[in-house]
Symmetry: C2
Subunit: 544 residues, 2 copies
């Protein structure tokens, strides 16, 4: 059985959710990290879990919204002269309730959380205007996280559908969700998503800024962009992708590529720079952005606008030039106590993945890396959740802190509900495989509990422990649906007579009864041993 449980911290209002799987027999329950949040009422939204923690620090004021889209609303922002970021608190030596929450969630010491945030090696994204979110952390020392992209496009989808996708994505384990809406109703869609999201929400503000100037990138201005950022800051967006590293001089480096620029934000800014022959306004106004981000505790996700769009373009001069610039920008953000992560590719063949992470860690001084995939081959549209789960698992093993999922629809269309689930599951697999490889203390126990259940033919326990219990049970029941099969010592793959696990159990029973050393006494030539096994082991292939 799976049920939601809460673990309390040092104060009663710190209650960290887990999915607890109770197992049969005397097997201890297994607690799994749980991103699903409390049940949400789409109209009312979620309760403001963090409101008290924010208020009690006394550094936030409630003021009328500045953004015209939020007119009439009261929003939070830093009081004059105050900085309200978790990085700021961490550097002051303060372990916030948010930090304690994530420490309990990860099974680590709160001081480790504080240190990693203070050093810039981890971020805890939580805009003061999104008090509904449950704190989580993104950094190399922590569990690898997964982001799911949702959002309308001009061609398809509605607000209700997107909120349903949000809930669906967090049910299956999305640690953050990016609302990449374009087209109409961007503001309304985002409002519904933020109010109902138990996980941090990320956006790419330039998409909405572009809509505001009529869709013509040449008409984009710093002022239009800035106002969009403030509008989204007031709504509660927790991190924003900012393509401030797409410099005018880097654009020509992409011209000889097979697939040019494949980031939407990157291509918009490249067009802007080239058309005006001016430097990227996100770069020239970066310090102003830092001031805004610091006032709400928004984290930068420094966008890789020049990421490769095919394996042939991986780790090229355009990408690496931008990465170096992102490293410089991260240090500027840190001057303002603003949290930062760095976005990464994209499409990278396996043999170039490690180099990519190593350069990022060096040039960006270990700021958390947040990568899209990478896809390890370009030949499999409709299966890019798999081409990229391979790259994602590897890049996470080498140090990426958060993986942006890719769905089966990548390159082909907007993901629907099924695609969202397929993408999240594939990426939870990649993330967990990396957690195992990195030795995160919370990782191996899950595998071992499931493997033990498998060996002992506890089918219900296996299903409940599975990343996707519904599908695991459905697949099993396709060929052996009857209830007795749930305790059968075989499945339809091998049938009753060829189950190695069954035979192994007989061997183990024999070993338990006789002692391992005795069996190992290969050269003793004791034929009576054999006779004993035959007598006691009885029917090795006993059909249930």
């Amino acid at each position: 059985m799976r049920r939601k449980v809460y673990v309390s911290g040092s104060r009663p209002d710190i209650r960290v959710p887990f999915a607890e799987v109770t197992l049969s027999g005397d097997n201890p329950p297994v607690r799994l990290y749980d991103t699903s949040g409390p049940a949400t009422d789409p109209v009312a939204g979620l309760p403001a879990l963090r409101a008290g923690w924010i208020a009690e620090r006394g550094d936030v004021v409630s003021v009328p919204a500045a953004g015209p889209a939020n007119v009439g609303r009261i929003v939070r922002r830093a009081a004059a002269g105050r900085t309200v970021t978790q990085l700021h608190y961490a550097r002051q030596g303060v372990v916030t309730p948010e930090m304690e929450f994530v420490a309990l969630r990860e099974g680590l010491d709160p001081e480790v959380v504080r240190e990693e945030i203070a050093a810039g090696r981890a971020i805890l994204p939580n805009n003061v205007n999104h008090p509904e979110s449950e704190p989580m952390i993104i950094g190399n020392r922590f569990l690898v996280k997964v982001n799911a992209n949702i959002g309308t496009s001009a061609v398809t989808s509605s607000v209700d559908e997107e909120v349903a996708k949000l809930t669906w994505a967090t049910k299956w384990g999305a640690d953050t969700v990016m609302d990449l809406s374009t087209g109409k109703h961007i503001h309304t869609t985002r409002e519904a998503i933020v109010r109902n999201s138990p996980v941090p929400i990320g956006t790419v503000p330039i998409y909405q800024a572009l809509e505001k100037v009529g869709g013509d990138p040449l008409k984009l201005t710093w002022e239009a962009y800035r106002d969009t950022v403030i509008e989204q800051a007031e709504q509660g967006v927790d991190y924003m992708t900012v393509h401030a590293g797409v410099l005018l001089s880097y654009v020509p480096l992409t011209v000889q590529r097979i697939t040019g620029i494949v980031s939407r934000g990157g291509s918009i800014l490249a067009a802007w720079c080239l058309a005006r022959h001016e430097e990227n306004f996100l770069y020239t106004h970066f310090r102003e952005l830092c001031e805004i981000f610091a006032a709400y505790d928004i984290a930068f996700s420094l966008g890789d606008g020049l990421r490769p769009g095919c394996t042939a373009d991986a780790n090229d001069s355009a990408q690496l030039a931008e990465l170096k610039t992102l490293g410089e920008l991260a240090q500027i953000a840190w001057e303002y106590d603003v949290q930062v992560m760095i976005e990464g590719p994209g499409h990278v063949p396996m043999h170039k993945i490690k180099e990519n992470v190593d350069l990022q860690q060096e040039w960006c001084r270990q700021a958390p890396f947040y990568t899209l995939g990478p896809l390890t081959t370009d030949i499999a549209p409709a299966y890019d959740h798999i081409t990229s789960a391979i790259g994602a698992a590897m890049i996470a093993m080498y140090g990426t802190a958060m993986l942006c999922y890719v769905t089966p629809k990548e390159h082909l269309g907007l993901p629907d509900r099924d695609d969202v689930k397929a993408g999240v599951i594939a990426y939870k697999i990649a993330a967990h495989a990396a957690d195992l490889a990195k030795g995160h203390p919370a990782a191996q126990g899950w595998d071992d509990a499931l493997s033990k259940a498998r060996f002992e033919f506890r089918w219900e326990d296996q299903f409940n422990l599975a990343l996707d219990p519904d599908t695991a049970q459905a697949y099993h029941d396709e060929t052996l649906p009857a209830e007795p099969a749930k305790t059968a010592h075989f499945c339809s793959m091998c049938g009753p007579k060829f189950c190695s696990m069954k035979i192994s159990q007989d061997l183990r029973r024999y070993a338990d009864e006789h002692g391992v050393d005795e069996i190992a006494a290969r050269d003793l030539g004791l034929k009576e041993k054999a006779a004993e096994f035959v007598a006691t082991g009885a029917e090795i292939y006993r059909a249930p």
Copy 2:
């Protein structure tokens, strides 16, 4: 469009199949490796492509079958005193038509093929009684291959279904197929599979041997096993899994594991050894097996009966002890000019994968490695094609020559048609990702052709180049089914106004017209450049 083409070799009867994808515009066609074979008539079977090559060497005789199950049949075997293996010919310096065939197939020099086979670093499995198969090669220097397991179990499936799965598996790219049938009708099922298979067929003879002795492993004898091997040899099985490395003394090493022994063959032999307190008869009779294999050119697939069944058991003493023994057995096989590959795990967390390959390559003197997965985590039953595609891609990059697929039904039930396809596709992705990482000359061109088609919005070309054209097109058409969308400069993912590829094309056109250097002249401050781009680039977001 995709169509089958044949490339001729030095003689007219060497005709190597490819799937040729013709592209629009002046883009050259792309030739893809093709495993689907000529269309088969399930009753008549496939034509005996290799019969002439086998006959002309004059070292094979046609004799009445020895196996009782094949009574009345004329079969091929080596003439007295002759050895008919490709390893034998390669060591004699002979490039056989089979070797030339695979050289053309891989785009490599025939002499490379011969050298690799002669050195034991590659195998060309082709039983003289399976002349229907199209030659293929398994070795670290060649394209990474994929095996699909099919076969009935006592609980489910029929002969017709299994032949359909065979055809389906090779359509999607299976390079070899293993018939793992248990239960009734093993002989009949295998006969149907071999006669209709354009790819080499592998088996695990102990499954049938066990059925012959009534399902009781304690009644297994060398004689029953040997006769089963001969029966299968006469049918044309190209390689056989032989668990000769499961030694009595290794069995106790598995007792403390979480999942004991998970290989069916391994557990059967462990039970046999323990019950009798005798050494594994496959080990004690190994040289006799070599003599039989040499007479038909059957390749050994030395089974890893003690492979780990969960991540916690990976690379443990049981597994490594057996691996070392497999290395010793490989050298014995080579004494008899018998081709050998080595089977590998199983379940291995990412950080232990490289060690596994490195030890195999060292201890088995670079005999080809043939691995099942490995699964990189145990938590995702129903998605083990993905948990294992991650491990498969990595282990192939490090040197595994052939990957045994895992389907979504692994651990849960017998795979159906859809599962077979899902498994093959996931593994073709893993194999190709490794080919790219290893720099196989035939690999990168496929990705680049598809990426170029993507950048140029040649949707039909993208679909035709896709690993699975049907699904790629179906996904695209879900949201943009109309025919004009096939030439549209966007898809539903981003919609017409946010397509980065579209913007990139505009940038490239501008660069072509003005020269890259001129654009790069960032500090020239030539505002007229900008004006020019605006004038010539015209509408950047031109809806089609």
